[in-house]
């Protein structure tokens, strides 16, 4: 068994320092295993979130060697172990303790988005009919595990702190899932343009790169939403029709 060193951020509310911990490496190990071993042996109070340990719940988001990743899905044989592996909290949210950040902003944002509003049922028994191909498109978005790594990497939030004017990639995906849902009837384009700041996204695709569920956030969610907003609010013909059509 070999040893590896983990350089983990320790501290409270933004203040702190990296501390080095050495731990044993066994076959197939992931970064979260290392964090657990360190908790059990050297640092019982090392704060970290986790749940499923299988990439399905999106709790253990962190930055590993500077990259936003799920700790449970980052295998040690995929990163160099000849130098310390840095593990630090996400940067786009207020820091709480060690690897834990305050992600409550995301929950507040979601609450403001217009909820699902289905059309009237298709059948007398109150059920609907949908084609699988129509479901497919939305099912991609509904794979989202809300790890918020896309929010963490987005420069509009991470560097420019536009949390009050911009909802971030996760909630464009959420909007897209609702807008493209075969049954939904609500209209969120006005909110997307004015309140949610979709114009701030300049499609650098960083969000798509870090998504552990491999959702094509930019291509399949954000760009189609941008197009719908543009069609509605900026297309001269549509504006003309609207002006006279009332």
């Amino acid at each position: 068994m070999s040893q590896a060193t983990f350089r983990i951020w320790r501290g409270d509310r933004g203040k702190g320092e990296f501390r080095d911990y050495s731990t044993e490496v066994s076959p197939g190990m992931v970064v979260l295993d290392a964090v657990h071993q360190i908790q059990a042996s050297h640092a019982p109070d090392l704060a970290a979130r986790w749940n499923c340990k299988a990439g399905k719940c999106g709790s253990c988001s962190a930055e590993i060697n500077g990259k936003p990743r799920l700790m449970c899905m980052t295998r040690l044989n995929q990163i160099p172990l000849d130098r310390p592996v840095t593990v630090e909290p996400m940067q786009a949210f207020p820091h709480l303790r060690d690897l834990v950040t305050d992600v409550s902003w995301n929950y507040e944002v979601k609450k403001k988005i217009l909820r699902f509003a289905p059309r009237k049922p298709d059948a007398a028994d109150g059920t609907w009919r949908m084609e699988q191909v129509d479901a497919d498109r939305v099912q991609e978005f509904r794979k989202c595990i809300e790890c918020y790594l896309c929010q963490d990497v987005c420069h509009v939030l991470r560097d420019h702190h536009k949390h009050d004017e911009f909802i971030g990639p996760r909630f464009f995906v959420y909007n897209a899932a609702l807008e493209m849902h075969p049954l939904d009837t609500a209209d969120r384009l006005g909110d997307l343009k004015r309140r949610d700041g979709i114009g701030y996204c300049n499609i650098t695709k960083c969000c798509t790169t870090v998504c552990p569920e491999e959702i094509k956030i930019t291509d399949n969610a954000i760009i189609p939403l941008k197009e719908r907003v543009v069609d509605r609010f900026y297309d001269p013909l549509t504006r003309l029709f609207r002006m006279f059509g009332g």
């Binding site: 019982p44 719940c57 699988q132 479901a135």
Partner: protein
């Protein structure tokens, strides 16, 4: 009783307090708030992270979309057969009758299930279900369900308190009066006064070393109810899911969905033999294929074919795997082979087909085990997965024997008996989450706010802080680890009198050791402290499991004893009840099972 209003902890008041934010808790909260009362939900983790997200295969509901011979009566009979007739038949009947409506309701709230060719909700095969019955979304059905309930619930005016753990339930005389909790972030105590409490706290998987459960599943609902005076039932029945990952070591126990077998995956030993054909129990012989060709046709929707033996109930499949390993026919890392890649013999473009049907399994093995399931067999072995036992509740209202205390989902007992069928947990949490929420709201409307007991609050908060008072002591992680070893090795899939007796002793010794636990650091987001606080619940449920298993001197469902390998018809008339005696000791005794109605008996007879 001291005047509560003078107490110094932050205090909240609600009509209904829900403990747990998995499927059962969210469904209960949605229903209670629809009943017009003020509701709070406390969850140990962030919202949407509960173990329901791990449910893969689907939700069982006899909608008959794929095979119109299906109906609630068949589902009822399947559930009772799977539970070896120790189930509460009234719960099994409500469940089978109401599951279809509960699933359709989710669609009205935005869930997007896979579709049949005519545009309805698609259903798939699963172990122990006679017809294709599981509504699903690929292999991430649980995520779809929890997200649907969460996104619906946040608009219902429910107060969510995330990362909040309950320490004890408060009582006023015999009635439930709320809960004392602490928040993980700051470690502050909070008092939640309530007229009714719904426990929806999930399972006990962390009592075992190899488990598919996360850190949260420490038997909180079971232990809180037990200490509050409720009865626990069927605690000897712990489900070991037959297919967990076994290699590499760090992923040992992570679930491999039964959906793999539902889609045609087969189990083989190291000699390439499909050993499941070697041992088909008598009560399933008439429903089970006796050759591979018929089994394959069943998975592909041939209504005249019987299901392959890989889709027998989980208890049986787990034991067959254990047998192959013990007798030296296992895979290199102590499991057996689960092969879905072989379907290329039947299906053109099988790799794409598998990725479409089982996307997260493909992803999971590719990323965590460097294995392409479309090309190679997986190595799998049993993993602690689900607790059939739990709080004894009224089948219609879900209220326990403690007035005002309700339970739903995994921490309640009754529906599953000695063994749960796959897919019946997601339907369980919908059907009984709704019932619990509805009746908790009704109870709250017809009862006033009980007083909270200051002395109880002081005592519980003082105990919780004890690990910080010491300057040295036992490491809580080590105690947890020892407990997991004890339960895994001595009260696992195959049980023996002497081993279980030793387990009871060891649990007692660990309980003493836990009293000297020491934690460095402070109360703010300190996982060492949280681990030490969870220990008490884990030790309580472990003792209950071991004592109940010792008492049941037969093998039935998930409970298998090498010293009593057969079923005993006399034991088939009893459940085992666990209660806290007046002197604080644990009392374990037999109680008669709930008798079938004439109609229920006729259905079971007809479906035999």
């Amino acid at each position: 009783m001291a005047d509560f209003e003078t107490h110094h902890f932050d205090t909240h008041q609600h009509d209904v307090l829900v403990v747990g934010a998995g499927g059962a808790g969210l469904r209960a909260a949605v229903e209670a708030s629809a009943g017009g009362v003020k509701v709070a939900v406390l969850s140990k983790s962030l919202l949407g992270k509960a173990h329901t997200v791990m449910a893969e295969g689907g939700v069982a509901a006899a909608m008959g979309h794929v095979d119109d011979r299906d109906n609630w009566r068949v589902h009822f009979a399947d559930t009772m057969r799977g539970g070896q007739y120790l189930n509460n038949p009234h719960m099994a009947q409500y469940h089978a009758q109401e599951a279809p409506a509960r699933v359709r309701e989710l669609e009205a709230w935005g869930a997007l299930f896979d579709r049949t060719k005519d545009g309805r909700i698609l259903q798939r095969n699963f172990g122990g279900h006679k017809y294709p019955r599981l509504a699903h979304v690929g292999d991430r059905t649980g995520l779809e369900m929890i997200r649907t309930l969460q996104d619906h619930g946040i608009h219902q005016g429910i107060d969510f308190h995330m990362e909040m753990t309950v320490l004890t339930l408060l009582k006023s005389a015999d009635r439930i009066a709320g809960a004392l909790a602490y928040d993980r972030e700051r470690g502050r105590f909070k008092v939640f006064r309530a007229k009714a409490v719904v426990l929806a706290a999930g399972g006990v998987g962390r009592a075992f070393r190899i488990t598919s459960n996360s850190w949260e599943y420490t038997g909180d609902g079971h232990a809180l109810a037990y200490h509050a005076g409720a009865t626990l039932l069927d605690m000897e029945f712990v489900q070991f899911h037959p297919t967990g990952m076994v290699w590499p070591p760090s992923v040992r126990g992570i679930l491999v969905t039964e959906g793999v077998r539902g889609e045609g995956g087969v189990l083989k030993n190291k000699d390439g033999r499909r050993f499941m054909f070697d041992d088909i129990p008598d009560n399933y012989k008439s429903q089970t294929a006796d050759n591979p060709e018929e089994g394959w046709r069943y998975t592909q929707g041939d209504k005249n074919a019987r299901r392959p033996p890989e889709l027998l109930t989980r208890d049986h499949v787990a034991r067959c795997i254990q047998r192959e390993v013990r007798e030296g026919r296992g895979s290199p890392h102590g499991g057996v082979f689960l092969d879905i890649a072989w379907i290329k013999e039947h299906i053109p473009n099988s790799a794409e087909h598998i990725k479409k049907k089982l996307p997260s399994m493909y992803h999971q093995f590719k990323q965590l085990a460097d294995l392409d399931i479309t090309a190679e067999p997986m190595e799998v072995g049993p993993t602690t997965h689900y607790m059939m036992g739990g709080v004894k509740v009224d089948p219609a209202t879900q209220m326990s024997e403690v007035p005002g205390l309700f339970a739903a989902g995994e921490c309640a007992a009754g529906l599953h008996g000695a063994n749960r069928l796959g897919g019946n947990s997601l339907s369980d949490l919908l059907v009984f989450g709704k019932r619990a929420g509805e009746h908790a709201a009704e109870y709250a409307k017809s009862n006033g706010m009980p007083a909270a007991d200051s002395a109880q609050i002081d005592e519980a908060s003082r105990m919780a802080l004890a690990p910080f008072e010491r300057s040295s002591g036992a490491n809580p992680y080590e105690i947890q680890h020892s407990l997991q070893g004890t339960m895994q090795d001595l009260v696992g899939i195959v049980r023996l009198e002497a081993e279980m007796a030793r387990a009871v002793e060891e649990v007692g010794a660990l309980r003493e050791k836990a009293k000297s636990a020491y934690i460095p650091g402070n109360r703010e987001y300190n996982p060492g402290w949280h681990t030490s606080l969870d220990l008490d619940n884990l030790l309580t449920v472990s003792e209950a499991i071991a004592r109940a298993a010792l008492l049941r001197k037969e093998s039935r469902g998930a409970h298998y004893r090498d010293d009593f390998p057969g079923k005993d018809s006399d034991w088939g008339k009893y459940n085992i009840a666990v209660r806290k005696a007046a002197d604080g000791s644990m009392k374990v005794e037999r109680v008669p099972i709930v008798p079938l109605t004439g109609e229920q008996a006729a259905i079971i007879e007809e479906m035999k």
